[in-house]
């Protein structure tokens, strides 16, 4: 009976997938709920020279990126209040705006402070009046903090706008001369800083759960090696340098272990290392390709394997060793990442009979799959710690670009950069 139910579910999923394919791509990628209209009024500033950053613009973009808000065009605003008592509900009701965020920046001598007010138009009520402060170089941090507080107050979801992004930039000067740099920026691509530079590839950077360490693969010795890099000090520790592949490092949720791929036993297998003791154990044992481990929880890995003929996602317990296949729709499912709550898996997905690789999410309880992107060589998804947004790599006119997309599919934008070719993004956890 159970098996029959299972097959019926599978059949239903296949039908659904077919149906999804038949739809216009835009239908697939747009959520059904309406984004909440919010007016983020330009912040008041009485100083002489304009501020280095436009806090309202950054905040509006943040809220838009979540896919849950539509910032109201400031050119169409009837007034520009900066204080709570200057917000007149009738000005905003007629514009269809549900919330108003207004504020003012003042100089504190050493730095700046921004006082802001979040106003509910229908209830004609101030919901939040707060102050954030910082130095000149922290103006963007101030905007991100305001965004986090406003986002959480309205949605009940912790904001993830103060997070960071790792990615690799490649500048190809000729066939055998490429400069690879590991970059760390705001989640939205601003303020990129170079952490590492090499003439050989850098791959698969990954943020530790503590936000202090990162792991990556570097070919600097002309072979792949896995490193752990301490962001604050720049100190680096070589973790593996075995013959063959050394790849795909992934941090355990407790930050104490690293899963990765080695082929020293003849073909790619997944290993887990305890970082304090450097004790290592092999997790998989199959003649196929096993790679791209990700942690479902402290005792369970998911990974890509072609043991069934094509790359698909499997799950394996570290204690009992039981292996279970998780993906059944599509002829290529790989590079799974998990939402922090462990309920949603994001992966690279290719439909049967199609050539293009997309990013898709799969609900791990119900199994249903949703294709999120419509570009063609999509890969390396990484999810914001609150699960509302993801960033992935794709190609446009022959160059690698990073795209930010909300998980509800409504918002999408390209991560701005001064480099020609970007790849392998990794979203940080919440940072202190």
């Amino acid at each position: 009976m159970k098996t029959m139910k299972y097959w019926l579910t599978c059949a239903a999923m296949l039908l659904l997938a077919q149906f999804a394919l038949a739809q216009d791509a835009i239908e697939i990628t747009r959520g059904s709920d309406r984004a909440t209209p919010i007016a983020v009024v330009p912040f008041g500033w009485q100083g002489g020279a304009p501020l280095a950053e436009d806090l309202a613009e950054i905040t509006g973009n943040n809220l838009r990126n979540s896919g849950m808000f539509t910032p109201f065009d400031r050119a169409n605003m009837l007034s520009h209040p900066t204080r709570a008592e200057e917000i007149f509900p009738r000005d905003w009701k007629m514009l269809g705006v549900e919330y108003v965020l207004a504020g003012e920046v003042t100089s504190t001598g050493a730095g700046y402070q921004a006082q802001y007010h979040l106003y509910n138009v229908a209830r004609e009520q101030v919901l939040l009046s707060r102050t954030v402060s910082g130095s000149e170089s922290q103006l963007r941090d101030m905007a991100h903090k305001i965004s986090d507080e406003v986002f959480e107050h309205i949605t009940g979801i912790k904001g993830a706008f103060s997070t960071k992004l790792l990615y690799v930039a490649a500048e190809r000067f000729s066939a055998d001369n490429t400069r690879y740099t590991l970059q760390r920026s705001d989640y939205d691509g601003a303020r990129a800083v170079t952490l590492l530079q090499s003439r050989e590839p850098i791959l698969t950077p990954s943020y530790a759960p503590d936000g202090q360490r990162i792991a990556y693969v570097s070919f600097e010795s002309r072979r792949p090696e896995i490193f752990v890099h301490y962001i604050q000090t720049g100190r680096r520790e070589r973790i593996t340098s075995f013959e063959g592949l050394n790849g795909a490092p992934a941090w355990s949720p407790d930050g104490k272990r690293l899963a990765f791929v080695l082929s020293r036993d003849g073909n790619p297998e997944i290993y887990v290392m305890d970082l304090a003791s450097k004790q290592m154990r092999r997790v998989t044992n199959h003649y196929g390709i096993d790679t791209e481990p990700a942690w479902l929880d402290d005792n369970t890995l998911v990974f890509t394997s072609d043991r069934g003929g094509r790359p698909q996602i499997y799950k394996q317990g570290l204690n009992n060793g039981n292996t279970e296949r998780l993906t059944f729709v599509g002829n290529y499912n790989a590079n799974a990442k998990l939402s922090v709550d462990g309920r949603t898996m994001v992966m690279v997905h290719r439909q049967d009979g199609y050539r293009n690789f997309h990013i898709a999410t799969q609900d791990l309880e119900r199994g249903n799959l949703k294709v999120l992107t419509e570009t063609s060589l999509d890969e390396s998804p990484t999810v914001a710690p609150n699960g509302t947004m993801l960033i992935y790599a794709t190609r446009q006119q022959g160059r690698g670009v990073l795209m930010l997309v909300s998980t509800n599919g409504r918002a999408r934008s390209e991560i701005p950069t001064k480099f020609t070719d970007l790849r392998v993004p990794s979203w940080s956890p919440y940072l202190p």
């Binding site: 698969t204 082929s263 390709i289 790359p311 590079n335 690789f357 790849r423």
Partner: protein
């Protein structure tokens, strides 16, 4: 891309033709210069009565150090095997160490492609070892899709990027 690849192969065949043609008429192996000047030099100095055509064909094959693969395949093509036969002879005679670099095209995920690139390098290694080359002479490195020979998206670029390079 199939066109370009075919073009390359055709050029090689033409080169052989020139070489074999010249040799059979008693000429020297200067024709191989079109493929690799050093190989041409080798064959012309080493060739004596009647050995010219064989060694110049060998020289042309020796000049082939990049071996191409079909999509999602690590199977060696016949032309790659012919070139590897010559390389295995050299490796056995000289005992030197070479690096086999495996590469893939840009499709699919980067870490999965690392594994595919290694599979290709391992296929070349296996073939050479079967010909009697010591595994200790062969170092395998996969670069996956990280070091494209040709940039750009499409069959043409992809075919030139799915390769193993033998490097001294």
């Amino acid at each position: 891309m199939e066109v370009i690849k075919f073009g390359k192969f055709a050029a090689l065949v033409v080169a052989f033709g020139v070489v074999v043609g010249c040799s059979s008429k008693g000429g020297d192996a200067a024709g191989t210069g079109a493929v690799d000047p050093n190989a041409g030099y080798d064959s012309s100095t080493s060739s004596s009565a009647g050995a010219g055509s064989v060694s110049s064909e060998e020289a042309a094959l020796r000049a082939i150090t990049t071996f191409y693969f079909e999509f999602d395949s690590s199977e060696l093509k016949p032309e790659a095997m012919r070139a590897l036969d010559v390389h295995s002879k050299d490796l056995k005679a000289q005992g030197n160490r070479v690096v086999l670099e495996g590469h893939t095209d840009e499709r699919g995920t980067r870490e999965y492609n690392m594994a595919l690139g290694e599979r290709r390098a391992a296929a070349v290694q296996r073939y050479l070892v079967l010909q009697g080359v010591s595994p200790a002479q062969l170092e395998l490195v996969s670069y996956g899709e990280e070091k494209a020979a040709v940039t750009g998206t499409g069959e043409e670029a992809w075919a030139q990027n799915r390769r193993v390079e033998l490097r001294k």
